[in-house]
Symmetry: C2
Subunit: 448 residues, 2 copies
Amino acid sequence: MKFLVIGGDAAGMSAASKAKRLDPDIEVTVLEKTFDVSYSACGMPYNIADPDRSIDDLVVRDAKTFIEKNRINLLTGHEARKIDRENRTVEGFASDGETFAYGYDRLLIATGASARVLDIPGTDLDGVLVLKSLEDGRKIKSCIERKQVKKAVIAGMGYISLEMAEALHERSVHVQMVKPGKKLLPWMSRDLADVVNQELEAEGVTLYPGHAVKRIEKTGGNLTVVCEGLDLDADMVILAVGVAPNSRIASEAGLETGIGGAVAVDQFCRTSDENIYSAGDCADAFHVVTGEKCYIPLALRANRAGWAVADNVCGGRTALQGVAGTAVFKVFDLEVARTGLTTKEAADAGFDPVEETIRSSSRAHSYPGAHPVHVAMVGDRKTRRLLGVQMVGKEGVAHRINAPAVALHTHMTVDAFSQTDLAYAPPFGPTWDPMLTCANQLLKKLKD
Amino acid sequence: MKFLVIGGDAAGMSAASKAKRLDPDIEVTVLEKTFDVSYSACGMPYNIADPDRSIDDLVVRDAKTFIEKNRINLLTGHEARKIDRENRTVEGFASDGETFAYGYDRLLIATGASARVLDIPGTDLDGVLVLKSLEDGRKIKSCIERKQVKKAVIAGMGYISLEMAEALHERSVHVQMVKPGKKLLPWMSRDLADVVNQELEAEGVTLYPGHAVKRIEKTGGNLTVVCEGLDLDADMVILAVGVAPNSRIASEAGLETGIGGAVAVDQFCRTSDENIYSAGDCADAFHVVTGEKCYIPLALRANRAGWAVADNVCGGRTALQGVAGTAVFKVFDLEVARTGLTTKEAADAGFDPVEETIRSSSRAHSYPGAHPVHVAMVGDRKTRRLLGVQMVGKEGVAHRINAPAVALHTHMTVDAFSQTDLAYAPPFGPTWDPMLTCANQLLKKLKD
């Protein structure tokens, strides 16, 4: 049995390794176009923040280990270009310019996602960078040092942008952020987004929402980011305006793609060709709240899907439940978390969403040092189902979000969630956990 | 409508206040035997740790506010002694020695629990104290100062004992702990209990498990705790050997009592007399995992049950789901948490428990400053249900436990839990949350 994998990061290497564990006789080949495999992309902002650490610290397991210990035929510098489904072959170019062709019985497309690049003049200038691959991280670190960067502009204000703002601030770089939309974290309840806004401003990060970037110009030794009604001066510009699935090789092979252009897969991570799987940031997933397809490329799903593919390639029948859209990030002293649907997403999915927002506390009143914990909760008026939760606070947010995440997997009502037996001790929260307080308040609105 | 409440702490005052909110015309009388109402008992160890704070800081709302603002007829210093169910009257003694009798249409027994006192000589000596009421807290604080306590013995090694060990350590008191059983935290997975043991030892707390206390003697200005095969010297002795429900007034009135001697209640918090409710640390509850009665007196349940009683007294029909046995405590730098059943409890309840213990990390390998997170998970071999989880670690434990707590409410399988979409970012954990890693490992054992 020949198992061929395109892409050597989270999903690809998880699948390759697990397949060899399940069946040592399976022939596993991985085609990776870069020379980096199995690294923690999510760790890049924190690594960039620290001048004393090498970006290579993010490598979880190096190519040599995969080849020698796991007996995987791992080919770095091999870029797959075409899937020939009829002959079950993948063709491409190696870094030495030679073409290659590998046959498969089962194929996994784990090509990941790429940073979106703004279609504007100047994105190719020296000092204009994106952050997705380990190589991107290397370039940013080297740019900071080489150009002695003091001022940076980040285009985009999503998770990665905010993590990068903190990372650059750690490197004593003044950060200005710009994006076309008028709202910071538009998916978030306004009360909560305001807390994030205040934190960023308190740390000296300047936000310019509502200004689309028109072009980037070189002015002397510096860069000017020319926006609508605004010019921003910078030594370095980071474009972090989201990611897009690398699904072209799949769509050109006639495989179905769906939401956001991602490769469409079923619960078994199978594409529209039963011999071809897809997993990781290039593939879509079912959302456990809506039951519909979604594109939420995150690390846990990539690893989990890689394992599921290995199971299924090796004769198992592992189905994935789907994603709840659970995510957390740290921005300076704040923890920001979400799970499930926002009010807008809920309305778009046909629910009748009702939202409540409360401010509680990270510790009991009897325990010193408390910080506010802000919770927003969305429920459905008709079915009373819990649809989503968002939280912001300086402590006790990141792991709290997992409780409603589990609730979403079971289609729990707000009523049932409000009755759950959550942990209490004075150092960790009030007797009524902030999420329970929010649920209790939301119940009143649902009764109206 | 006359609503009479015996007991003015969490359950009693929650019920009284909510009843007045729901129906301003209801006549609410509360009989409280002490002069303290509505205080945070759980906050006492932390208050005792701080010589500059008054124990009265733990009062959430004082009697005057309840009387004047909430228009509750709150009678402190009123000890109820007898319930006359035929005439719907409660009789007792006020602190001035006068007898009283109050009639009711609906009665709530919210008498709480008392600290168990060892049936040994010497428990009445000066400096031998328990910790349950606010008055007990006052006595401990005053004893520490008056006797300039340098050495204390704590009999018992449960949550409260461990919190008190930390509190006294903060006051520069050397703490020795003793109990008859041979195991620290016997309900806990051994690997996890060992971590707690090491933490206590590292902080200079000396543990003597396996030694029953036989008597306490006065020797000169000091106390000697005479144990089996061991004499311990102390300026102060704290007996923290558990609590027992204050259910005598209920049982003497012929109401059913059950597990641990607690007042037996149904899902509506109703006793065997349909006009009498019971809530808080004196009452039992259904366990969501077993569906059977249990006695787990904790603060959230007391507050929740108080509210439910108010709803039901005011014509509603609020049922409580039951408890999952979720609890958390801090001991020095460790967070210790549990939810659901231990392996032994699961076996006793008729399950076929399988346990797995893992050690993971509180942060991703790419993020500095990680601490170990230890997880123990119990599943049922036959049904594959998740039955319980325990965790210990220096960070990220207290709120993590809420995810499996929610899972227990829905009778989720380990398989389903292992597929839940939990939050990931490098500052807060590895890609596979420690609980997912434990679930994945447990699944392998369940397949055997």
